[in-house]
Symmetry: C2
Subunit: 197 residues, 2 copies
C-alpha cells in the first residue's frame, strides 16, 4: 500500500488561502520559470523553474489518488470531473450532490468520515501515493494519525489571515519529523516532513 | 551600517509561542544535540547538533544589538539586564519602567516608535546585525520596511493557536524573497529570507 500525504502551498505565516478561499500569490511559483509542465483537464500548463519542475513531476508521478473536502470540491466544481493531477478524486462530504453535471467514475463521494475517505483513496491508488488537499481534511487526517508525510510548498508571502494548512489541529509534538526534502526554487521552497503514523 | 533582521523559532503553522506566551516545544532544538554552546547571563548552555551549532554561532557572532517589545521584556524580566546573546537590548515601550532592578547601560528604552527603536539598535550595533524579537515588533518593522532579512527556525510542530511571527502584518507580496539559507537539523530547519527593504 502506498503512503498518505497532505500537500499544499502555504504562506510563511501558515495560510493556504485567504479567508475568501482565493489563493492570492500562493501559486505564483506555478508560473515562475520556463519549464512547461502540462496539467490534466482544464488547467493550463505550469511554467516552472527547473528545480520546481523536477520536484513537481516526481511528486505528481508518485500520486495515485487525491482526497479533498467538500469546500474544495465546490470551489472547483470538482474540476469538472477531471482533476489537474490526472488521478481519481475522493470527496469527503456529508451529502453528495445528486445532480452534479460531471459525475463519473473518477470522482467518488464518501460520507462516513476521514478514515473511510483515506481508505477509499488507498484502494484507488494501489501502491501509489494518496494526496490530501489541505485544510480541514488534512487536519482531521493528521489528528487521526492517517498521514505518513506532509508536503509543504513554502511561499515567501504573508497573508495575515486565512485558511490554515491543518485548520486548528493540535497533535503530539513528536508526530512530525524534520524535513527530508528542502528544494529551494523561485517563489517557493519545497519541503517534505515525514510523520510518525 | 549592519543589516536588520527579525528572528524566531516558529512552528510549522506559524506560531512563535502559545497564547499564554509559553514556547511549548519550539525550543526543543536548543537541547537536541551534544555540542555545548554557552549563553550570556542566566540562561544555561544550549546543547545543539553540529549543524545547528555552526548556524547558531555564526548567527550570534554577527549580532550587535537586539530590539524587543515590552511583552517580551516583561516576560523575561529584561533578562535581568544581561541578554543571553550578550548584546545590548533596545526595548520599545510606551512607558519605561522607573524602578527596574536591573537597569543599566545595556538595556535602553525607546518610546517613540519602531523606527526610533531600530535606529537606536543600529547605533548600538555599528556594523553588526540588529536582531528583532518576533511578534508585534517584527510585524511593525516589516510593515515599515525596516527589515533586511527574516530568520526563521522552522520547528516541525503544530501549536494550533498562539502568537504569530509577524502578528497580523500584511505586506507587499514581493517583499520577501526565497530563502538563501536552508540548514536541516534536529527538531528545526534554519531558514533565512532576504527582504526587499
Amino acid at each position: 500500500m502506498g503512503i498518505v500525504t497532505a500537500a499544499a502551498s502555504m504562506s510563511l505565516d501558515g495560510f493556504i488561502a485567504h479567508d475568501d478561499d482565493t489563493p492570492g500569490h500562493l501559486f505564483d511559483w506555478y508560473s515562475a520559470g520556463d519549464v512547461e509542465v502540462p496539467n490534466a483537464g482544464d488547467l493550463p500548463p505550469f511554467r516552472l523553474t527547473r528545480a520546481s519542475a523536477d520536484h513537481w513531476t516526481a511528486w505528481r508521478s508518485s500520486l495515485g489518488a487525491v482526497v479533498v473536502g467538500r469546500r474544495l470540491f465546490d470551489l472547483t466544481d470538482g474540476w469538472r470531473g477531471v482533476h489537474p493531477l490526472g488521478v481519481p478524486v475522493v470527496v469527503l462530504t456529508h451529502s453528495p450532490p445528486t445532480d452534479w453535471a460531471w459525475a463519473g467514475p473518477s470522482t467518488v463521494f464518501v460520507t462516513d468520515g476521514i478514515g473511510a475517505a483515506v481508505a477509499k483513496g488507498e484502494a484507488l491508488a494501489g501502491d501509489a501515493v494518496v494526496g490530501l488537499a489541505a485544510g480541514t481534511v488534512a487536519g482531521q487526517a493528521l489528528t487521526a494519525r492517517l498521514l505518513d508525510r506532509v508536503d509543504v510548498d513554502l511561499v515567501p508571502v504573508l497573508l495575515g489571515s486565512g485558511r490554515r494548512f491543518f485548520a486548528d489541529a493540535v497533535v503530539d509534538p513528536e508526530l512530525l519529523s524534520d524535513p527530508t526534502v528542502c528544494v529551494p526554487s523561485a517563489r517557493v521552497t519545497h519541503l517534505s516532513f515525514p510523520v510518525r503514523r
